[in-house]
Amino acid sequence: MGLLLRWSGSAVAGLALAAAALAPPAEGQTPDADAIKRGEYIFNAAGCLGCHTDEKNKGPRLAGGRALRTPFGTFHGPNITPDPTHGIGAWTEAQFLRALREGRGADGSHLFPAFPYTSFTGMTDADAKDLWAYLRAQPAVAQPNKPHDLGFPYNIRALMMAWNWLFFSPGEFRPDASPTPELKRGAYLVNALGHCGECHTPRNFFGATRGDMKMAGAVLGDGAVPNLTPDPDTGIGKWSPDDLVELLKSGMTPEGDFVGSEMGEVVANTTGKLTDADRRAIVAYLRSLPPIRHHVRKPAAK
């Protein structure tokens, strides 16, 4: 008996030793670090940086302040660093998931769709949780939020309840039919993460994207955002898949030009940082959309 015990005791010790030898080094390989790494990819694919960093005025990363002009007024991206007072340091993971899924702030109030939760609602739980892990690992910055500058009645948060009822369908992304895995991935990257339609789909009077004109190009501020449906004359119908992949990677067009304005930012922060397989999936998906004939004209100069 005593012998047996001693044996099992040393076996346990041996196992513990073996486990210690097998255990990964603390740096870089803990499950948490993996989640942060995956979360960084989601962060890039979803383009969270630009709206929450005032790059123009060299503001600190993710500390907010970027002015976003819309027909309803000027929004200022808030601080989403882990600062407990000014950022989202006091938020729980569940509150963060609810913000992405339902467009609700920590206190349950309605967020404005200038924060594209109408797209992010499609994010998978796994991706949203990895994204949370990544955001938690960023340096906290104690920078207070700038209030939005909105005209009446758009400044009434409670009105968003009606807006959501009319235009918002929450829930994880469901691809339309049963496409190939590549098309499914492309649809997820374009619709749920990349929120490409936030700029490339025209909006109705209430500022909601129009389902009948998906990706067909839009007027945004003082310029035109191109039609991304495969229409040969007004869309991307004449582009080769390789040309489109190159544009998403480096910003270069077949004419040797480089996209600028908002799309320059998308290439620098988002599509340029994806894997080639993901860029190809985006292109395959765009080319599978129903072609819509829609020539977007730049609004007349002021």
Binding site: D222, G223, V225, T253, G256, D257, F258, E262, G264
Partner: protein, 150 residues
């Protein structure tokens, strides 16, 4: 010379001529908007030509004159943005004249990137040339992102 080669050479000469005439004609108009567009268009054509060489992964010598052309174009680019040339058929952002120093800095760093590409193309290491081409493209995009409207 085979007749095919002769035809190709003729076509190339014609393209160069037309290009030169086109550029000169618009320069002669003294219209800064037309001038800078022609100059930028010439940058685009050169980038297109360089990409073809980089993608072919062959000798890098044909990159040298194209990179040199971009460097010389960009060296004079800022001069084609005089104050008041932000209206008309242009996508130049009015912010250029609010942050002229930064605009010029972006122009200088893009010029430097073109010179770096020219130098590496002379040396002939295809991998370095591909990387320098990527950096030059980024510098074009960086200025368009901030200072060209859609």
């Amino acid at each position: 010379m085979s007749s095919w080669l002769k035809r190709a050479a003729l076509a190339a000469a014609a393209v160069t001529l037309v290009g030169a005439v086109g550029l000169e004609a618009s320069m002669a108009q003294g219209d800064p908007i037309a001038q800078r567009k022609a100059l930028m268009k010439s940058n685009g054509d050169a980038m297109k030509a360089i990409k073809a060489v980089v993608d072919a992964k062959g000798p890098t010598a044909p990159v040298v004159p194209e990179a040199a052309k971009i460097a010389s174009n960009l060296k004079s680019a800022a001069a084609h943005f005089p104050a008041g040339s932000d209206t008309g058929d242009t996508k130049a952002s009015p912010d250029i004249w609010k942050n002229l120093d930064e605009f010029k800095k972006l122009d200088e760093s893009s010029t430097a990137a073109a010179m770096k590409l020219e130098a590496s193309a002379k040396k002939g290491d295809a991998a370095v040339v591909a990387a320098d081409f990527g950096e030059l493209g980024k510098s074009c995009g960086a200025c368009h992102q901030k200072y060209r409207l859609k």
